[in-house]
Every structure is written in structure tokens, then in C-alpha cells.
Amino acid sequence: MMTKLEIKNLKVEADNHPILHGVNLTVNTGEMHAIMGPNGTGKSTLAETIMGNPHYHITDGQILLDGVDLATKKVDERARAGLFLAMQYPAEIPGITTANFLRAAINARHPEQPIAIPKFMSELNNALDLLDMSQKTANRYLNAGFSGGEKKRNEILQLLMLKPKFALLDEIDSGLDIDALKVVAKGVNAMRGPEFATVMITHYQRLLDYIVPDVVHVMMGGRIVKTGGPDLAKHLEKTGYACLRDELGLDIELVDE
């Protein structure tokens, strides 16, 4: 059954500083979306706000999951409702292994019926294989001492194991070499299907060569300013964000200008 995530006129601030100025976005399961945009334009804020990071405050608008407003739901409730955020800077948690953490996270979704250990181990081994990760990784403490690339792979490992309906991928390509990027893309593509949707946030078109989106959005100045197909990303790669801004006649200062 199709599930719908709707963002309606979302306005968000952090530390009393407005960041999002009315974002509208609808994502259905079965769809792959990409959000591109220059630095400092609110892409990560959008992802973090949808997930429920308490650092960000909604001042107006709604986030609806199949019509249910998520505003009052805590981050863990949103996760159990089917949202997942692959973070740009995953936290390091020494003292719990990735495997034990994953089992606890899976069981949090249906505490009355814990996953059988053989089933869990077989799913974990399949996911590790798909991502070219060693068995040892699962027995290391969660992200503790991991390289940037290892952390990104571990985010995708969690995605594969937790099987969310909506995966927000916040710059999952940053800091990855081309081989690692292919592996990460393989993981995300394995999730493709009618029950799954992703919103990829990226600066670069390169990621979209490996995870081909159905829809591309461009964000600038805290709004989505243009939506199109995969060609939009290719066009942007040639012309740049400043050019698009001028084309659209927007009065926005780009932070890296």
C-alpha cells in the first residue's frame, strides 16, 4: 500500500534564526527524490526537521505522514512510524556493538515479538555482504573510531536492516571515494520498491548517476525553487546554482559566492 509524506508550507528556525521559509514537498513510496542546492540553503535543516531533531523548531506548516501530523511526535516515534535519516555526521557510541544496536532497534519496532537470532544473523550477513563490509564491523562498537567512509556505509547498513518507508539521505556521498560511492548506491538501490521512498540530499550530480532519481528539487534560500526530472540535475551541473537563481530572478545571496 502506498504511503505519503507531505511537507506543507514548512517554516523552521534554529537558535532564533529562520532557515526554512515555506517548503512544500510530497513524496510517495515507490519514488526516489533528490534535493540539490548550494551550501547553507536549508537542505539538512529540512531533513533533520522531518526526522524530529529537537534543535529545530517548526514555526509554521505541517509534516504529514498519511495525513497524520508528526509535529508532536518525538524522533523515536517517527522512526518507528517508518522514517529514517542517514546522517551527515553519525554519532559514535562506544560500548554497544553495531549488531546489538541493530537488534535493539529492530525489536523496538515490535517489542512483543523480538526477531529470532538466526533470522537476524542471516539478514545482517546479507546486508554486510551487499555493502562489502566485514563481519568484524558488526561486532565493533557503533561508529567508534570509524573513518568517514565506514560511518556512511554503516548508515546504509542500518537502512537495509531497519527497512524504513522513507529514507532521508543527508549528503551520503560526502567524503566517499568512487568505489565507496558505488557500494553505498548499491545499498540504496537494493531498497527500491513500491514500499520505499528516498529523499537524497546532495551538492553534486555524481551521486545521481548511481542512484537515479525520479524527481529532482532545487532548494535555495530556504525554499524549493524548482522541480524537474533527472535532467535538471545534469543541467545544474553545467550551469551552476547562481545561474539558475538568475534565471528564476531570485533575490538570494549564496553563502559561498
Binding site: P54, V75, D76, F84, A91, G95, I96, A104, A108
Partner: protein, 360 residues
């Protein structure tokens, strides 16, 4: 002589309510295990009905005005004696397990004496059931000997526990001493190590967990009395609700103990705003040619870590459970591997509640 409750820096020890120690004595059930290897090597591992007056005098002199210590020796009826002769290397840990079997104060005493160039591990489990208890002991480690001591303290809610344990180390002796305070109730205790011989070294680690309105006060002291002695004190405590925990770490380096190295780290994690913690580092150094370092912190859960764990669907309680384990991990990893580490892990899970990620 005017007697008083133990005097520890920055702690009002009367608050611990240890007057229960004056209640009538409880009967003790003491179990010993793995003694064969030691007995075959001419050692002693037994429950005795007295201790030598020399040992008693030496211990009392370390704090002559301490009312709890005096009460302990006046009421003493049983003691666990462990004597390992010189040149004996034991392969199995010596296990001591005791608990009061009647209401009242459990008055427990142990003496561990390890001969020259010997090696042993002693694991002491002190079980629940007491209204109050004293756990007093002496440890002596001979030259070039290596001793590992792990104490797992489990008490029911409402218990009052008092510890006064002293260790003395000869030349090149090594002591690895772990203390796990993860039972319920109020705990007050001091663990004193004297490095008397050149090259002696001690690692002392304590882990504590306090919930409800429990009080934990630990004072761990190492005295460096000889050159090239080294010590590391590592104390981590987590506390919830209205609990209070005080951790003192004291490193003393005498004049003449050149080349000594005294390191200490005391950290507390407060899970609730009403919990109170105090980590108090003290270094008293009377020699120039030494190394010493201390770290102390009282902090709360890292919100970024909490958010990350919750973003995977874990409830706040389970996420905090994981972060407590994460915080205690450096100390837990210093416990001797095997059943005691598993037991501590299991008990932590029980006391923390929520989904136990290590057993889920």
C-alpha cells in the same frame, strides 16, 4: 579517643545513614570455591573465627577514630583467609561468595596475602539481603607477585554498606583491583593502596550505579612511598532520579618516591536533573621528579548521541540505557574476563530496565 563517622573530603558521611551498622549481627553464609589448586600448593583458603591481633592493630591504626571500623573489629566473628605461598601461580580464580542469612548487620572480613612471585585472582561477590553490612579487608601483595581482585557488590534496596579495605604492595608487586557497586542501597567506602616497594603498581577501577534516592560515596587512595611506583585510579558512576554520588580519588607521592606516576580519572553521568554528583580529584605530591595527572567530570547525556540512537526507533529509556553502558564501558572493560564480567553486564541490564541491547 573521640570516635566519628569516616572523614572523607567533600562528603558529609553522616548523611549515608550507616547507623544501621550498630544493629545486631546477622548470620553469614560464606561459600568458597576453586580452593583445591591453592590447598595442593600449601596455601590457605578458609573461613576462620579470628584474625591475628597484629593484622587487626595494623588495620585499625589506619583510621583509629573511625567508629564503623572499630565496631567491625569489636563484633568480628568470622574472616575469610587467603594465603598464597611464595612462587605459586594459580590458574583458576578463587571465589568468595557471602551473604547475610538473618536480618541485622552482616559483618564480613577478609585477608588476602600473596607470597613472593606468586599470581592469583580473587573474586568476591557480596549478595543482597542485608539491612546493613561492613566489608573490611586487608590485601598484601609480596615482591614480584601479581594479584587481581574483583568485588561485585549486590544489595537490596534499603541496605547500608560500608567498606574499608587496605592493600599493601612490596617491590615490583602489581595489583589490579576492580570494584562494582551496582546493587541498591547506600554505599560508603574507602579503598586504600600503599605502594611500599620500588616498582610496585596498582590499577584500581570502580563502577557505580545509583537510582532513586541512593547515596554512593567512594574514596580511593593510592600512596606512593617508593621510587618508580605507578598507579591508575579509574572511577565511573551513573546516577538517576534523586541519587547522589561522590567520587574522591587521592594520589599521594612521598618525598623520595622519584619516578612515580600517579594517574586518576573520576567521571559521573547524571541522567536526571535532580541527581547530584561530585567528582573530587586530589593529588598530594612531595617530590619533583614524578608524573601525575587527573581528570574529573560531572556531565549529562550527550544530546547528539541520544538523538542518533532515538532516530533509529529506540525509546529514550533504551537509548539512555545504551549511553550509560557506553559511559561505563572503559571501567567494565577492565574487569577480569569471564563470569564476573557477564554477571555485571547482566545486572546492569536488570537495573537499567528498558530493552537490554545486550540481551534483546
Amino acid at each position: 579517643m573521640k570516635m566519628h563517622t569516616p572523614r572523607y573530603a567533600q562528603m558529609k558521611t553522616a548523611k549515608w545513614g550507616l547507623h544501621a551498622l550498630r544493629t545486631p549481627l546477622a548470620d553469614l553464609a560464606i561459600q568458597l570455591a576453586n580452593q583445591d589448586e591453592l590447598l595442593q600448593n600449601g596455601g590457605t583458603f578458609a573461613v576462620a573465627d579470628h584474625i591475628s591481633s597484629d593484622v587487626e592493630t595494623a588495620h585499625r591504626q589506619t583510621d583509629p577514630e573511625n567508629a564503623y571500623l572499630a565496631a567491625h573489629f569489636e563484633q568480628l566473628t568470622q574472616t575469610v583467609q587467603i594465603e598464597v605461598p611464595d612462587q605459586v601461580q594459580l590458574t583458576k580464580p578463587l571465589l568468595v561468595d557471602w551473604q547475610p542469612t538473618t536480618p541485622g548487620n552482616g559483618n564480613f572480613h577478609f585477608s588476602i596475602r600473596l607470597g613472593k612471585n606468586s599470581r592469583a585472582t580473587v573474586i568476591i561477590t557480596q549478595k543482597a539481603g542485608a539491612i546493613g553490612l561492613n566489608s573490611i579487608g586487608e590485601i598484601a601483595v609480596g615482591a614480584d607477585a601479581q594479584l587481581e581482585v574483583a568485588e561485585l557488590n549486590l544489595f537490596d534496596h534499603g541496605s547500608r554498606a560500608y567498606f574499608h579495605q587496605n592493600a599493601n604492595l612490596d617491590r615490583n608487586a602489581a595489583l589490579n583491583w576492580s570494584i562494582a557497586q551496582i546493587g541498591t542501597g547506600n554505599v560508603l567506602g574507602e579503598f586504600n593502596t600503599e605502594l611500599n616497594g620500588t616498582g610496585a603498581s596498582a590499577n584500581i577501577q570502580a563502577v557505580s550505579l545509583a537510582k532513586k534516592d541512593e547515596h554512593i560515596g567512594l574514596q580511593t587512595t593510592v600512596g606512593h612511598h617508593a621510587p618508580h611506583t605507578t598507579s591508575r585510579i579509574l572511577q565511573h558512576g551513573a546516577l538517576f532520579a534523586q541519587a547522589e554520588t561522590n567520587l574522591n580519588a587521592i594520589g599521594k607521592i612521598d618525598h623520595g618516591a622519584h619516578g612515580a606516576d600517579a594517574q586518576q580519572e573520576s567521571r559521573l553521568l547524571l541522567l536526571d536533573p535532580s541527581a547530584q554528583g561530585n567528582a573530587n580529584p586530589i593529588l598530594l605530591i612531595d617530590e619533583n621528579d614524578v608524573q601525575a595527572g587527573h581528570a574529573a567530570s560531572v556531565g549529562q547525556v550527550d544530546l547528539q548521541q541520544l538523538y542518533y540512537l532515538m532516530s533509529r526507533g529506540l525509546t529514550k529509556e533504551t537509548a539512555e540505557n545504551i549511553l550509560v553502558r557506553s559511559f561505563l564501558a572503559p571501567v567494565l572493560s577492565s574487569l577480569p574476563a569471564g563470569p564476573i564480567a557477564d554477571q555485571v553486564d547482566h545486572l546492569l541490564g536488570q537495573r537499567l530496565g528498558g530493552i537490554d541491547p545486550n540481551e534483546a
